[in-house]
């Protein structure tokens, strides 16, 4: 493919950009494109546990997602995706880096994330048990309550 345009075309048209910040594209939301199968359902169970584990690990340290991302050298978006979207397939590289921060062997984490075939006995059952027990039943902290109320207020302001 070759562009063969006179200088005048650029002279006439570049000004149209003005001060716009021009960009396009974003990866499709994984949950929107992932086919549903019984194997996927099993993966969802372990990924929910993986996401909760990552969230609890950092909360136990008092870290926010950005701080964990920074320590691991990955995008904050990847941390949030792991914690909140069990449909998303994490990057193996990100799981290795998180395992290093957690000072754990990457193998079981890769299994939980569905990146390698499961071979650890009872890992899925343990993961489900962990996920079921680790869901917080504690009342919101003052900071969480303020954030929650601010978000509710924002939602209430939005019109259809």
């Amino acid at each position: 493919m070759k562009l063969d345009y006179l200088k005048e075309w650029f002279e006439r048209n570049i000004e149209r950009e003005g001060t716009f910040e021009i960009g396009a594209g974003i990866p499709p939301t994984p949950s929107a494109v992932a086919p549903v199968s019984s194997q996927n359902v099993e993966l969802l169970d372990t990924r929910i546990a993986f996401g909760q584990f990552v969230a609890l690990w950092r909360r136990n340290k008092g870290w926010n997602a950005e701080r964990l991302a920074s320590a691991a050298g990955i995008d904050p978006e990847e941390v949030l995706q792991i914690e909140y979207d069990p449909h998303a397939l994490p990057e193996p590289d990100a799981v290795y880096k998180l395992a290093k921060v957690f000072e754990l062997s990457p193998r079981p984490l890769l299994e939980l994330a569905g990146l390698v075939v499961g071979r650890t006995p009872h890992l899925r059952e343990e993961a489900i048990r962990f996920a079921a027990r680790s869901e917080s039943i504690k009342a919101l902290t003052e900071t969480e309550r303020q954030a929650f109320e601010a978000f509710v207020a924002t939602l209430a302001e939005l019109k259809d």
């Binding site: 562009l3 002279e11 006439r12 048209n13 149209r16 950009e17 960009g23 396009a24 594209g25 974003i26």
Partner: protein, 200 residues
Amino acid sequence: MTESKIYLRDGRTKALVEASLFDEATSDHLALWDRDWVPAMQAFCAGKSLSEKPEDSHWDWRRKSRAATGLLGYHTLAIVCADDLQGLMMANDISSARLPQQFGKPLIYVDFLATAPWNRPQIQDPPRYRGVGQVFLLAAIELSMSVGFKGRVGLHSLPDAEAFYENKCGFTRLGSDSSHQGLIYFEITDKQADAFRQRN
């Protein structure tokens, strides 16, 4: 790999300067991305919250390029000026149109398009060069022509560029797409593409 002569506008002198469009982003281009683009973006993002950072600040073009390497139907394009990388675009020719008047027909879909940090008025004033976005859209239309798609192009706009595609480039707005994090999807028909190529 084909190199085309194009022009960008120098943000400081306002003069048109010669630049090159490559229809294949090479390892040399990605090395420039690593060397200059990444540190510039990191410097701008330092200390900013997620919502204050540019929407593409976390894009890893090496990973994107690696994923597309060897795949039929995927194209990575680069713009270089004064030995510096000025923009990168990835597009594919395996997508279909959504507009009713061309529904189901093949088009060029722009997967990703970004200009270098120093070419963005929000990051650097004045920006080093303007015109990168225009040239990439022209390239997407020409790519569409070259593979027999008559200029049809589709893309999901980043929020800051919506008015540009709709009002300045003649794209048709098809609305928010929940499968792409709510981004607005735009499409250009063969006639709109023709007008874009010939406009005065």
